[in-house]
Amino acid sequence: MTILPYLLAVWIFLVGLVGIVTSRNLIHLTVCVSICQSATYILLLAIGYKSHGTAPVFADIPTSRKVVDPVVQSLTLTDIVVAVAVSALLLALALKVFEAEGSLDPAEIAELKG
């Protein structure tokens, strides 16, 4: 039980990988990459969580109060921005591939050999 959230992250990562490998559409594949990335958010936040800790915002609570780790949250924020940026870029690349090949199926457009 005590490692369940970590296992959730592992599960999401593996599910995302399955999606990428079996994907027949580059847009679908890009979303699966985002799924993989969301595993890292969950892992980071789960690592920094403290039982009975509150959010590290001291607007209404005394600073002596037990809070969860603010650093992993900051890392996750960076991670989310990176994820959106990379997804937007991947989709633009997918559109460009579609423009050139008229298809989004990686098997159909695999022209590169050797």
Partner: protein, 83 residues
């Protein structure tokens, strides 16, 4: 671990599976948005409101707009007989 956390985790675990298994990109975009909102709930119960807010604006605004734009582009072309 609190019950709410376990429920949120279950939703996220199932959500990810549904996103991957949705082979149609339009349906996938919808399921992906729902998955995003389940992540928001998870982050809230993990006491990470800043991250939850980010995930909210990302899965409520950024991803839908970009994904719909990309999907519509390809569908429009395909109906028109491609290039």
């Amino acid at each position: 671990m609190e019950p709410l956390q376990i429920v949120a985790m279950l939703y996220v675990a199932l959500g990810a599976l549904c996103v991957v298994l949705a082979r149609d990109v339009v349906r996938q975009a919808l399921v992906f948005s729902l998955y995003g909102f389940s992540l928001v709930v998870l982050f809230v119960v993990f006491q990470a409101p800043d991250v939850a807010l980010s995930a909210l604006v990302v899965s409520g605004i950024a991803y839908p707009l970009v994904l719909v734009g990309a999907i519509a582009r390809c569908h429009g072309q395909r109906k028109g007989g491609g290039k």
